[in-house]
Every structure is written in C-alpha cells, then in structure tokens.
C-alpha cells in the first residue's frame, strides 16, 4: 500500500513515517513542495494522499483541485491533515473533493483508525500487509 504525504514540517514527517510504516504497514513517500504533489501522484500511483494545507509553491486547496481535475489522479482519495481548522476551510477542502479532514495535532496511536474510518468505504484500508 503506497501513501503519498505532502508535509513540510520535518518533525511531523518523522512521526508520520513511523506511524504509517509501522502501524499502517504502508510504503510512504514524502514531499515538502506543493508543486511536486501532482507529478508524484501521477508517477507513484499512491492509494491515498495525505495533504497539508500550508505548503510552499502551492496551497493544499490548489493541489486538491489540481488532483481532482486530472483524470490520472482524480480517483486517489485525498485527506487533509492540517493545522488550519477554520470550519470554512474544512468545508472548502471537502467541496474540492477531499474525502476527509483531520486536524493537527493528532494522536499517533489512533491516526490509522481515523484514516481507515474515512477511506474504508472506498476500499482502502491501512494496517494490513496487502
């Protein structure tokens, strides 16, 4: 299971890498540049994208819109994982096609369960070796 994570904070990258690889049994690819997300999604074909809202070069909203407008990436589920927690931003993120919105700070021990709650209905489940 491949997961693409767009996150520019190196400390949070470390935590997400640990959680996603150890508990989520995922192969994780990171980028800290907003404009790299769409090309990496196209080339890497991840099963899930975790997207920060505040990224250099492109905002999370712009990235989400670009992913959903591109036939090659529009079917990949996108979850915002962000410290931007205004209700309007959450609504806008979902309107642009994200399947979920998780706020920072998150509990690393329940993050996989929270992600699965969102993506299981779409046939994606983290934490299995498949």
């Amino acid at each position: 299971m491949r997961v693409l994570v767009a996150e520019d904070d190196p400390d949070i990258q470390v935590i997400l890498r640990m959680v996603l690889t150890r508990m989520g049994k995922c192969e994780v690819t990171f980028t800290d540049q907003g404009d790299q997300v769409v090309p990496m999604a196209k080339s890497g074909s991840p099963m899930l994208i975790l997207l920060d809202m505040m990224l250099p070069q492109m905002s999370g909203m712009e990235i989400c819109q670009a992913l959903k407008n591109d036939p090659a990436t529009q079917s990949i589920p996108v979850i915002f994982l962000t410290a931007r927690t205004q209700p309007t931003e959450m609504q806008e993120g979902l309107r642009l096609g994200a399947v979920g919105y998780l706020a920072k700070p998150f509990d690393p021990m329940t993050l996989i369960a929270q992600i699965n709650d969102i993506v299981s209905p779409l046939g994606v489940t983290l934490g299995t070796s498949a």
Binding site: D9, I15, M23, A83, R84, T85, A103, P105, D107
Partner: protein, 242 residues
C-alpha cells in the same frame, strides 16, 4: 463572525442613509483610505452611480487636501478639479458639496462626502452634525480594522501553535504507546504529565483560537469597491412629479 461582517456593512450603510436623509440631499459617500493609502469608496448611499468611474480618488491639492487638514469643507462644484469633477451634478441650483474628515485616534481614516446642496443650505448645516456623522464612520472603521486584524491574526496563531504541538504530542504518544518498547514507573508518569499538558494546550487553542475564529476575511477590497461603485450606488430614480 460572519453575522458580524454583515452587521457591520448594514450599520455603515444605514449610517450614511440616515445622514443623507437628515441632510436632505442626494448623496452621502464614505471614502476610506485603503492599505495602499488610496482613497476608495467604502460605502455609499445615493443615486449618483455614474459618478464613480475610478477605483481610487486622487489626493491632489485642493478641497481633498484641505479636508484632510481636519476641517469641514464646503466646496462649489464649479471649480471642477480632482474629486469635484467626479461629483459633477446635473443640478445647477445645487452646486455645493461638503467634505468632512473622518479621523481615528492617530490618523485620518477617510472623508465623508455629502451633497449637492444649494450654497445657502450648505452654509446653514451645523458643523457638529457633520462631525458627528464623521465620528460614527470613524468608530465603524476602527471596528472594521480590528475585525480585519483578528481575521488574519488568529488563524495564523492557531496554525503556528498547532504545528509544533503535533510534533510534541505525536512523539509523546508514540513513546507512551509502546512503539519503542515498554515505558513504566516514574518515567511513564513524567511523560503522561507532559502529554496532559499538551492536551490542555490543545483544548485552550480550541476554546480561544478555533471556536472564535472569524469565518472570512475582510470584504474591503478592490473587488468590493468595484461592487459598491457599480451596484450599491444605483437606486431607483425619484418618482416623477404629476
């Protein structure tokens, strides 16, 4: 907060509407300095839509400069320079506009423009009445500035606090969750204390910075000024006399 935005707009517009009715004139406009120190239409009440073609008004010498020196100015449109050219009226009998400076505690925020009046009426309007209307605009403008500041400051602080807390809470959670082996005894107590501190901080952020965040940014922008220019000044013509 969205309601606050709408409420502010309504109050400002109502203030100008009341001022216009009270002064028995056609037009009452509040020109406010924007962040680029340009004088733009902030709110208006009246029927002179065709007058407002430009986005910003020149701050040339003359009546505008004179008004900004903190005096109520009564000016005849006959001189037709700068702002007055934009206030051109079809009515020859009513040819005078009044410009009132709108001042905050430390700076001039804009100008209130009312008119046109006949020269005699313009002279008879008490300065206090004009200054009070200007003062009300100043209070509303200060309120609006505070709202603008809050709407950009609080989301930023919210974000800047949550990001490092993610690293702190995340690493504590993983250690306490046993990802690096069992933790027990006094070490566990200490780590749990740190984790509780994090949780309390998150609750405080939720309470003071997330729940009370303004929902949208200021609407005082070029787009909004255009909207006011094009639309809000357009009111139905007066009924024809039988």
């Amino acid at each position: 907060m969205k309601n606050l935005t709408i409420g502010f707009e309504q109050i400002l517009h109502s203030t100008l509407s009341m001022a216009r009715n009270s002064l028995k004139t056609d037009l009452c406009v509040f020109l406010q300095f924007d962040d680029g120190e340009r004088l733009c239409v902030r709110a208006a009440d009246g029927k002179k839509a065709h007058l407002w073609k430009g986005k910003a008004f020149p701050l040339e010498s003359g009546p505008v400069a004179e008004c900004l020196e903190n005096k109520v100015v009564r000016v005849s449109k006959k001189s037709k320079t700068g702002l007055l050219a934009l206030l051109e009226s079809k009515s020859a009998a009513k040819s005078t506009f009044i410009l009132v400076p709108v001042s905050g505690q430390s700076r001039t925020l804009g100008i209130l423009v009312c008119g046109p009046f006949s020269a005699a009426t313009a002279k008879s309007i008490p300065e206090d009445q004009l200054r009070n209307t200007g003062a009300l605009c100043a209070v509303l403008t200060a309120h609006w500035r505070l709202y603008e500041w809050l709407s950009s400051f609080t989301p930023q602080v919210n974000h800047e606090l949550r990001t490092p807390l993610t690293a702190v809470q995340g690493s504590l959670g993983m250690v306490l969750g046993g990802m690096y082996g069992q933790v027990g005894g006094e070490m566990r107590e200490m780590l749990e204390m740190a984790q509780k501190g994090c949780e309390r901080t998150v609750l405080a952020i939720e309470e003071y910075l997330t729940k009370q965040l303004p929902n949208k940014k200021s609407e005082f922008s070029e787009q909004q000024s255009d909207k006011i220019n094009a639309k809000d000044l357009r009111v139905p013509p007066p009924p024809k006399k039988p």
